[in-house]
Symmetry: C2
Subunit: 619 residues, 2 copies
């Protein structure tokens, strides 16, 4: 019953196999010139006629017979016996062989006087100067750049034969619902073939998404067969793993042959490569980041063998913030955030959950670890592959620490100023440690000391001798979230959901419990840890817990009662050495802006009198 993968193959093996087993011939389609930018020519393109076909004036001026101008000079202006007024682009009448610029001509009573002779053919664009009839404008397999559309029109081209690969995308799974439908428990929005279509059509493939296919071998077989008839290559989304309903491999084997089941990549291992009707059929894993990896690292390179140019990712050397151990044998791909702190490029691996699509949205770079690699240590220089233009990476403002929704709103205020705020959620202490290693521009933190003060003590302890400023983003209310409006004093005996150790909220809870004389052991679920405010609220909403401690915005987002417990200083710790960094200056300006005050008021749960105040966090 438990199915196992066939022998897992390396990516290099897979490419060699594809080259061996398939002809990889693209389809040819005709597109109107207006839609040809970015497409790749199927064959050479020839000029339909010469450009220009006849001599034209290259200037505004007069057409003359050069021999009749020979005697002209400053000392000896001459009146021309004949001449014709021509504008740029006008035909030079056959009796003339040169043009004199209008600036050098004096007109009176319909005759022209000149003070300079004209050499034969001056300022004349000779016939065929640009290109002659039947000459080649561009060769096969040329990616048409937008500015070339003009030249093609000039040379008489209105339709272009371009290459493409027709790709059939077959989404399988009884749990699928279409984008726009709120999924019921157990349902999933079909997003992988939408993503595949966007990624593959960007480079010039022609994708057809087929209707969702229920998880029965018969229906999957029919769908794959139809897609193979109508396309050059077929991608079957999901069902490629070894679960009880993973029929893709069996169906492909029934229709043709499974060549590969399991590739040595992480994520992306459960991919399948099969052959049906001489065409490649690729089974895509279901996890979004696995699917993304297989599209980027396997399918796009395969399109290259069809002649579709796929842009290479730009690579920068960057210092990695955390170690990553890996087993030899698999190529591993790590989504990351990249930014320049001072003069140093710093790169941080993101959450590794293959279902976390936000990490694909947050990441602006990735690291590829080849299969012979054993990983890297913190501080190593690695190749960062850019997923954004380099100027966007240069504008990244790295905010690492405790998360609050207002950070996202600051990102929204900063983006129009050309600053890309990227926040990494590692809790307040994680932020302080990142600041100590100078791996971020600012660390949001709300760390409470026993004496009831915020943040400074931690900065002093962990960054001794470093000049650090603390900028108050907001005084933030933390409180009890519940379905029944519990007070803090009601917590004993209720099923609780806690935040992870080291988080500011956990410290606040322990501080308030101590103050109130409540024993944590009296609170069931005290050991159950989640990592965000909203996860606390969700656990309460779903009934998994009765109460938790979180910020107001999280309770409000899920429409749950919220009883304030304490107000805390949510501050940004910033090394003073970065105070003049334009990104940091823009951040502080945004915090102090009236728009930001309005946002805080609208969100609720914040007190704003101290917002934007800078305190000396060092000493």
């Amino acid at each position: 019953m438990v199915k196992r993968y066939l022998q897992v193959r390396t990516l290099d093996d897979v490419f060699a196999l594809l080259g061996r087993e398939f002809s990889c011939t693209p389809s040819v389609i005709s597109v109107p010139l207006e839609n040809a930018a970015g497409r790749v020519t199927a064959g050479p393109i020839f000029a339909k006629y010469s450009v220009p076909e006849i001599h034209l004036s290259a200037m505004d001026g007069i057409a003359v017979v050069s021999a009749e101008t020979k005697e002209a000079s400053e000392q000896h202006p001459i009146k021309l016996p004949r001449a014709a007024r021509v504008n740029t682009g006008n035909v030079v009448p056959p009796e003339y062989d040169a043009v004199i610029m209008i600036e050098d001509v004096w007109e009176a009573d319909g005759t022209y006087t000149i003070r300079k002779s004209a050499s034969p053919w001056q300022h004349v664009r000779p016939a065929g100067e640009d290109l002659a009839e039947s000459e080649m404008v561009m060769p096969s397999r040329h990616r048409i750049r937008p500015h070339e559309i003009g030249g093609l029109a000039t040379y008489g081209i209105t339709e272009v034969n371009v290459i493409t690969v027709r790709i059939g995308l077959v989404p399988t799974g009884s749990e699928l619902v279409a984008a726009g439908t709120r999924p019921m428990p157990g349902q999933v929005v079909e997003s992988n073939t939408l993503m595949a279509k966007a990624m593959l059509e960007e480079v010039g493939a022609t994708c057809t998404r087929y209707p969702f296919v229920e998880d029965t071998p018969e229906k999957i077989r029919d769908a794959i067969q139809k897609a193979c008839c109508e396309n050059d290559l077929v991608i079957v989304s999901a069902g490629s793993s070894a679960g009880t309903k993973d029929y893709t491999a069996d169906v492909i084997a029934g229709l043709g042959e499974v060549l590969v089941h399991g590739i040595a990549t992480k994520p992306g291992k459960p991919a399948i490569i099969g052959r049906v009707d001489k065409k490649p059929v690729i089974g895509l894993p279901g996890y979004p980041l696995s699917a993304l990896t297989v599209i980027r690292e396997l399918v796009l390179p395969v399109l290259k063998t069809y002649g579709i140019p796929v842009p290479r990712y730009r690579i920068l050397k960057a210092q990695v913030t955390t170690a990553l151990a890996k087993e030899i044998g698999s190529d591993e791909f790590v989504a990351c955030t990249l930014g320049k702190v001072g003069s140093r490029w710093v790169i941080s691996p993101q959450s590794k959950g293959a279902g976390v699509q936000m990490s694909a949205i947050r990441s602006n770079a990735y690291i590829r670890l080849p299969r012979e690699s054993e990983g890297f240590n913190a501080g190593d220089l690695v190749d960062a592959r850019l997923l954004v233009p380099v100027e966007e990476a240069e504008s990244a403002l790295l905010i690492t620490g405790s998360h609050d929704p207002v950070i996202d709103y600051l990102a929204d205020l900063l983006r129009p100023k050309g600053v890309s705020l990227i926040s990494t959620h590692v809790g307040s202490m994680g932020g302080i440690l990142a600041l100590r290693k100078n791996e971020c521009h600012a660390a949001p933190t709300h760390l409470l000391t026993d004496d009831g003060t915020y943040n400074s003590a931690y900065v002093k302890k962990y960054l001794p001798g470093t000049d650090v400023d603390l900028i108050c983003v907001a005084q933030r209310q933390q409180g009890v979230v519940s379905r029944d409006g519990f007070l803090f004093a009601d917590l004993p005996g209720r099923m609780f959901v806690n935040r992870q150790k080291g988080s500011g909220t956990r410290m606040l809870l322990d501080y308030e419990l101590k103050k109130a004389g409540i024993d944590p052991a009296s609170i069931p679920g005290y050991e159950r840890e989640v990592t965000t405010h909203i996860a606390v609220a969700l656990a309460v909403k779903s009934g998994e817990a009765d109460a938790g401690l979180c910020v107001y915005s999280a309770a409000k987002a899920l429409n749950l009662p919220f009883i304030p417990v304490a107000s805390e200083r949510y501050e940004l710790a910033i090394r003073r050495e970065h105070a003049a960094d334009p990104r940091v200056m823009a951040l502080i300006e945004a915090i102090r802006s009236p728009q930001f005050k309005t946002i805080l008021e609208q969100l609720g749960g914040y007190e704003t009198p101290e917002t934007g105040i800078i305190r000396d966090g060092s000493h």
Copy 2:
């Protein structure tokens, strides 16, 4: 009558003025998610619900109560009292709090045995793990990358508000005909607004091309007025210069205000910036390369001020092959070809004719000379701005010398092999000199010595001590082209059109005239020089000349009689140091290929017995 430009303004002045005079607010449009890749968000996007909304299994396996697995070990396998089979993505039923992977489970008679304990919440994707309802998915002004379409679908987004700039493109000129119409003498195919549309829509503008407008002030005024009503910005193509029919500036002045007439750029000087209905109206010069420059250097940066991100060109340091003198005061832009010869990036300015659209197609880079620059000397290191991906520039094979159409066919054979052949037409001697300076990979040449031999003598003279191979591309027929089938002996007394001094064809002519005892002075038009075979044929076809000397392909292209005079060795001179360069090896392979032989036969005018033979050109 002669209009002058207003004070010419620098590009920097123009940008400052635009920022001062216009609000530059983009339009907001809603696009379906499927079309959102590449677009820029108008506002922040929030998750419509949490993902996941309920705890899901992260693995194929069984859902268990973690507390009931505590005792399990290799030595002490336990049978679970309860468990539920779950596949990846299935809901974890509320009574369970962990998942054990199917690989670690033994099933028999419907019960499960395990050998390892499970920690609470292992392999469970907690509710809200990815994102929670109401959290921000992406901020304003974020360019949506194709792979993000999946995440957006998952978070419930089906429509996205994106920014754009609505641009009205108004082509003016009574001489205009639509692409696809062969222009009569004096007519021009309207290509500039087609090019503008492709270039501007690539970054996210929304362009409307209006019907062609005749050259009368009234019609131009009506068209501009309509376009201003319907768009955020209007571009009027042509009529921006100072010719007798250049009404654009006057019309704009009548409708609103001309802010700038003439910008200090080369090409591109006659551009206009005006204001009508508070909207910018830009007058584009008529020459294609001037229009291209104004779009790239002025309009695209203006779109940036509307919030549209415009990719920066990648810059490489390259050694320039020829000097360029320039006057201080203008920014100058030079279309170039760029390639790597040995380990050195080499860049060559292209033809400067503003009407030569082929130079925009041939160029893969450009040089920007700022207004304080006085130009550069040959050999200077300059900033090459790439117009192709860097990997395409790395694949460039630089062929510099005498041109023949077969070189274009070789380009066509090589492109599918990943080699971009770029040919620069400078004549045989120009090629030999480029080879001497090691600025190209191969120099096509057909230089005849008095003793009747080809090429070797010139290589020996100009590259003494350098190992050079000569590869025969073809034995090529040169002959007399005429409308009446003249023989070589018929030339005296006929109006002739000649090739430039230093060209192989000119040398062949002189050699054959001497052999036949014909005095050049007996041939009228001997002094009239054009620079290509096809220009010779065009001059004959148009009646400007009665005869010329050219290759068969040029006569054939224009359906003119051709009487062979001599067969010459058209060879590639290649430094032996590049013999192992994969691009050069691919070139030689292409010359020797059966496909190339077939092409030569089909084109006609070539003898092929020696094609691909390598001779030692050095000694």
